[in-house]
Structure formats: C-alpha cells, structure tokens
C-alpha cells in the first residue's frame, strides 16, 4: 500500500497515524509539496487530477480523499475503528468524517497561509476555524454527558482521526486552542493511545515516560 505523502500535511498525517494505530505497514513515497509543488506535476496529476495529496494506491485502488483512506485502513485491519455499528454511532462517524472537511478548508487553509505563505483571506479563514473548533468542543461536551470520551463513541474511531490533526495544529494558523478544555482532554486521550505517532507541530507527551533517573550529586 503506497502513500504519496508530505510530512507537513495534516491530511497525509491522518493516514500515517491511522496506519500506525492499526499496525498497517505503508510504503511511503515522499512528495516535494513545498517548495517543489510536485503534487501539481504531470506524474502526480495522472494519479490524482485534483492535484492534491495524500494519494493512497493499493493495486487497482487509488484513493484521493483522506477520509476514505481512513475507512479503508480500518475496514482492512481494524474494523473496531469504524464504530460499533449501531445506527446512531454509524451516523455520528459519518457526520464527523464529513465535518472534517470544514476543518481542512478553514484551519488548514489558515495554516497554509500563515506558515507557507499561501494566498487567502486570513481573518475569514480564522473566523471559520474558530466556529468549527466550537462545534468540536460542543460535540465533545455532549459526548461527555453521554459518558463517552471520543467524537462518535466511547472508543476512538476514524472520526477522531479525521478531525484530530487540523484541530491540534490550529495554532500553526494563528488560531489559539487555549479556550477549549474538552478538545484539550480529547487530544490528550488520542495522543496517549498505544502506537500514536506525532507530526511536526504536535509534541511528544513526555509525561508518558517516567523522568529519567539522575545520579544524585553526579556531574
């Protein structure tokens, strides 16, 4: 399974993270997105005429939407990430998978503007980003009342992985995460999962490892 990948892309990171969490080995093909704009070059446009990454290639199957890639990985390797299958939970998973696109077009675009100098109306993008973060926060509060820690279920699903990267990287686009306590706890729960991997901008939770023993009075 080959992933056309850019290390700084939150959408590519979703797929790497999902693969790590479900123990799927990916063949990573790095794409020179910045500064090279390789994703707009002929070879990659042949694979994905939309000129976007990630692209996931598995035999005849070519996927160009990250949410579909998450579902593909989960369905193949770890169906519990698709949710328990109850009517309501299935709908919630779909709700957040679709919603994740709003995070990409608001917080993701703000991040590209602030970090890699891509064009855009930054005030507008940040405003839409804050509106989206408030919806995630409210959704998590309501899940908390239902006794669930994650967006669609009481266990993490593809919905969480679809939403987590752009939310966690909101500060890269100048949108603060300070006012969202439910998002903070949810993000922490995801970052504490076994086999979780980081991307630049999301630091290691150093507390998950004990402090190293220091020889008293040494050095």
């Amino acid at each position: 399974m080959k992933l056309y990948d850019y290390i700084l892309s939150p959408s590519c990171y979703k797929v790497r993270l999902m693969a790590a969490l479900t123990d799927v080995k990916l063949d990573i093909r790095p794409v020179d997105f910045h500064p090279g704009a390789e994703h707009r070059g002929a070879a990659l446009m042949d694979l994905n005429p939309a000129g976007s990454i990630p692209i996931l290639e598995d035999g005849d199957l070519i996927l160009t939407e990250s949410s579909a890639m998450l579902v593909y990985l989960a369905a193949r390797a770890a169906p519990e990430w698709l949710g328990s299958g109850t009517t309501e939970e299935t709908a919630r998973v779909q709700q957040w998978l679709s919603f994740s696109n709003r995070l990409t077009t608001s917080l993701g675009a703000a991040r590209l503007h602030e970090m890699l100098l891509r064009p855009g109306d930054i005030t507008e993008l940040q405003m839409h980003g804050i509106a989206a973060l408030r919806e995630v926060e409210a959704g998590l509060v309501e899940q908390g009342v239902r006794g669930m820690r994650f967006l669609a279920s009481d266990r993490p699903t593809v919905a969480d992985i679809a939403c987590f990267p752009y939310v966690a990287l909101a500060p890269d686009g100048g949108v603060s995460l300070d006012p969202y306590p439910a998002i903070r706890l949810w993000s922490r729960a995801l970052r504490s999962l076994e086999n979780f991997i980081e991307m630049p901008g999301i630091h290691r939770l150093h507390e998950l490892k004990p402090a190293p023993y220091i020889e008293p009075g040494g050095a």
Binding site: H34, P35, M115, P200, G201, H203
Partner: protein, 279 residues
Amino acid sequence: MTHDAMIDEWYPVGLFSKLDAGGRKTALMGEPIDVARDAEGNARVTGGNGRPLPVCVRYGHVWSSLGAPQKALFAIPEADQAGRRFVDVGVVRVRCSPLRAVENFLDIAHFPFVHTDILGAEPHTEVQNYKVEIREDEVWATQVKFYQPQAAKSASGGITTEYMYRVPAPTCAVLYKTCPPRPGEWDVITLFVQPLAEDLCDVWPWMALYDDTTTLTDLIHFQQTIFLQDRSILENQIPRLLPLDPGMEIPTRADLTSVAYRRWLKRHDYTYGAQLVAQ
C-alpha cells in the same frame, strides 16, 4: 529607536530558482518590497517607493538590503566545494522576532524535548562544556557535542554528533555538523532569516551536504520536520522580541552561544527584533 546598524546588512528575500517575471511581493524590516527576475534573467529587488535595492544572488537565495551594505555577503567556502548537494529547503513564516529564530537555531539543550528521538532523547540531556569565541567579528561555538538518536537523514542509529556554530550576520547562522557518510568532513546547514517586521520573519533554511543516497525530497522533509517542531516553540515565547538586557531571562552554561550572540548583537547595535529594557 534607530536600527541603522541592521539596515545596511544583507537579508534573504527569496529563492532564486523560484523567481519569475511576475515577482514576489514581500517585506523587509517593515517596508514592502518586490523581488522579481528581469528579462535578462537577473534578480531585481524594488523598495516600497519604487527605488531599486541592492541585490546579490548566493547560496540559492536572492539577497537584498534597505541600506547600503558596506561589505559583500559573508562567505561560506563549503558552498563552492565539489561533491556537495545544495538543498533549497523553502520558506517557512514564523510569528517571532528574527533574532529569536536564530537564537533557537544555536541551541542544543532543547533537542531531547522538541526534536524527540531525532536530534535528542532523554536521558541524554546533558550539555557538555564547549567553546565560544568571537572570530573576525563573528560568533563561533566549537566542540559542541550531543548524543543524537537520528542526527541526519543519512544516519542510522544513535551517535554523538559534533557541531560548530557560526553567526556571520545578525539574522543568519551556519551550522557545521558531523557528516555520517564522510567522517572528517562537515555537513553545512544554514538558517537565513528575512526580517519582515520586528516580531515576524520568513525563515529560509539551506543545506550543503555530502549525501549521495538520500533523495532530495527526503532531505527537504527532514529539515522541514526539524524546523516545524521549533516553530511551535518560537511562536509561544514571551516576549516575542529577544530580550538583550540580562535579568529578563536566565541562561546557564549550556547557553553560552546564546549569551555571546546577545552580547554581540548589543555591541553592534543590532537591535531590530530585540527588547532592550526589561518590562
């Protein structure tokens, strides 16, 4: 406050390879500028009032100045060595003082916490004594050693890496680092910083490496990974400006390079992006 001393310095304003006739609208120390390539293929930089600004093209980048540079851009002799690969890493914007961006680049003590399992890892946090001096009016730190789990894209497994740092200009730093495939040679990694405003900068990393096996994209991604890990630190330091007066921030022995850099900035009146009075 005047910033005369820094006005006459050279600054990176764009990648030469990415320039076109349409030009690139950017800024230098608060002034809007335009960087373009003319009909003959030469880089041209225009100031806010349409006046032509000094130009030189070196190390993959276009350099310019709002003032009248007294000397040529600093030399990096390794840039002319055969067998090296020259890597344009591309621009990253950071909401911080250009001086903070350089100071972070000179720091090794943060490796285990910010570049975890790449440039450093607990429990290998100790910074051994190293040497700092002023050489021909540049800040130099030598004999800097640190244990690194994955020092470079070409490294496999942990090694103790040796570093040398050099600050040849107020917003530029050059790192010389143990070269895994060629012991005895140094890889060169630079941080060229374009000051857009006192608290906003465009950072242009550039590299001159001995590495014949790693793909160019992998080399770029490795360096972008490292710098983007730093970016979330740089945007959360308070104050945004670099404090030059002692008292505001507490250094230790591990920070000798930073101490020398701050003193050198102050002595030269390089204060664009600096905070002079403790607040």
